[in-house]
Point group: C2
């Protein structure tokens, strides 16, 4: 079966004959030494603040900047992809070669003083503090009008591209609208022009009515496995009230988001034996924050399979697990909170 | 620096401060046992033909079908993503959920009887035989008008998604035009409408004039590292004479292509210590084969870095090596043929 992704116009190939059962996708990875709360050589651990660039922000109960006492700490990435000092003028080197400076921002959000505690196993209070920090950094950076959007993401596990063990998030502010984001907005804008509705809100309403691909929800948010999931166990968390931009989200609603995120991540962790994954926040780019065309949401992409030549050459995905089956498996997974 | 990819409208972030030097990207991988010419348990080795589905085609000097004596052998993929028996009717399950049958084809091209010889180290004659086989299978399958395009690809190494050691190529015929391919055609069509030229031919002419990103060429083909390479050491091989479709390529020109492909793959192998990579053939979809909007070409994507949350969430790439530097490094690499 091929399924059409109405949010991107992609066709996704579902090939369950290539599949193992959902639980067989578990890849017990060597996570190195057993969990330690504090590592003397880790630049992200309390007491080692001098090993990082000076902090941009910290949620702290006590202590001076760049000293222990914080619960969430934000620092510049030591090897930034983009920097605020660079210029954003577009230049040409002939009609085919166009470039611009590395203008942007690249920050690291150290999500807790604990060196090795999985984000989904943090107390809800701590998860909420991280979300509030992300929200605050997003709005602060969007004050710089050179930035078109901010990509917020978390890489969990080596297979997801992380090189530092101490759990952290990152954000990159870009001086251009990434094409993938532009595409999603174009598609949802066209849907709005045709129907006067937000395609994400409509999708969410359909899913909540059918329930087959919903794995958890509360009054404010729902977690679904999309109909045309590109990878096994792809999970989205969407707000139930329309809001285009994460930056405009009601800070009071970050508590129920933290609760649902904890549930979802704990279930994925238990069901798939601590899988590598990437998590990103999708949000409207600058200038589209107040439009009714888009719904900000979180996407969690487990790295259970390796995209190969077909996927890279065509842009199409081959998914070996139907989201209905994955959702059932996750709903049946018990977690202790 | 960010560079604009005129073939896809992507901006690529170049972040050499995050980079190691080109040669430090080498990842000596454990390739398992030392090279063996024949493996008794390998379904792709001569003598084990009964372990695969019956062959679709073989280039053979001697022997009956499904027996030894072949130099290139084509078989159906045992776990196909798509199959010719499936139907291609588009169906709807409400306005947001659209699907179709797994109509298509998925074949494996065993590139030589040798269990463990790298493709770039094969004699030019054998490389040419493989290219002729791919060309012939492409044109045979495109006779089925349900197929919109055929993605030809090769995965080399575990990090590139291959699970079988015996070297092989694959092809997948799809009942839809993949979005990535559609995008490239749209962009090149718009360029043609503006300029009356093929954007790929123009790019190639610019690169051949400048020479900074050319790594090898002959009378018929050139190998370049594109200005806005998405990954370190991304390499394209393009024909110098305009031709939209790989299927319409002159068979007589597959010999010089084999020669250049051998040079390029040998250099990548030596310079980067046998890197994992994906290789794909880009070609015009059905109905566009005779148009002057596109140039078929080979793309080689080494898997030296791991895309993470930023890349997956935004669709943008962060490349740590400038193509000019990578090209210089490859030009300085000596290989023995």
């Amino acid at each position: 079966m091929l399924r059409y992704d109405v949010t991107t116009n992609d066709w996704v190939i579902f090939a369950p004959t290539r599949a193992r059962r959902p639980h067989e996708l578990r890849k017990p990875t060597d996570r190195g030494d057993p969990a330690v709360v504090h590592s003397p050589s880790c630049a992200f651990c309390p007491g080692n603040e001098r090993m990082t660039p000076p902090e941009i922000y910290a949620d702290r109960g006590s202590g001076a900047p760049n000293s222990p006492g914080w619960s969430v700490r934000v620092i510049p990435n030591k090897f930034p992809a983009l920097r605020i000092e660079e210029d954003d003028r577009r230049r040409e080197d002939g009609p085919l070669f166009r470039y611009t400076g590395s203008c942007g921002a690249h920050e690291v959000i150290i999500e807790s003083p604990n060196h090795d505690l999985f984000f989904g196993h943090q107390p809800v209070d701590q998860i909420e503090r991280v979300l509030r920090t992300l929200h605050s950094r997003f709005n602060d950076l969007m004050g710089d009008r050179r930035f078109q959007t901010i990509v917020i993401f978390k890489n969990h596990g080596e297979g997801a591209g992380t090189s530092l063990r101490h759990p952290h998030w990152q954000l990159i502010a870009t001086p251009v609208v990434p094409r993938q984001l532009r595409l999603k907005h174009e598609v949802s804008t066209q849907y709005f022009d045709r129907t006067a509705h937000c395609i994400y809100c409509e999708l969410l309403a359909e899913e909540c009515a059918a329930q087959t691909r919903v794995i958890a929800s509360n009054d404010d948010f729902a977690a679904i496995l999309p109909y045309a999931s590109h990878v096994p166990f792809e999970t989205w968390i969407l707000p139930k009230a329309h809001q285009s931009s994460f930056g405009h989200a009601d800070v009071g609603r970050l508590r129920p988001l933290a609760e649902l995120l904890k549930t979802v991540l704990s279930r994925l962790h238990r069901a798939l034996d601590n899988p590598d994954f990437n998590l990103t926040i999708n949000t409207a780019p600058r200038g589209d924050e107040d439009k009714t065309y888009f719904l900000w949401h979180i996407e969690i992409l487990p790295r259970l399979t390796t995209p190969a030549g077909f996927e890279l050459g065509s842009g199409m995905s081959i998914n070996t697990v139907l989201p209905e089956e994955a959702a059932e498996y996750l709903r049946d997974t018990t977690v202790h909170s």
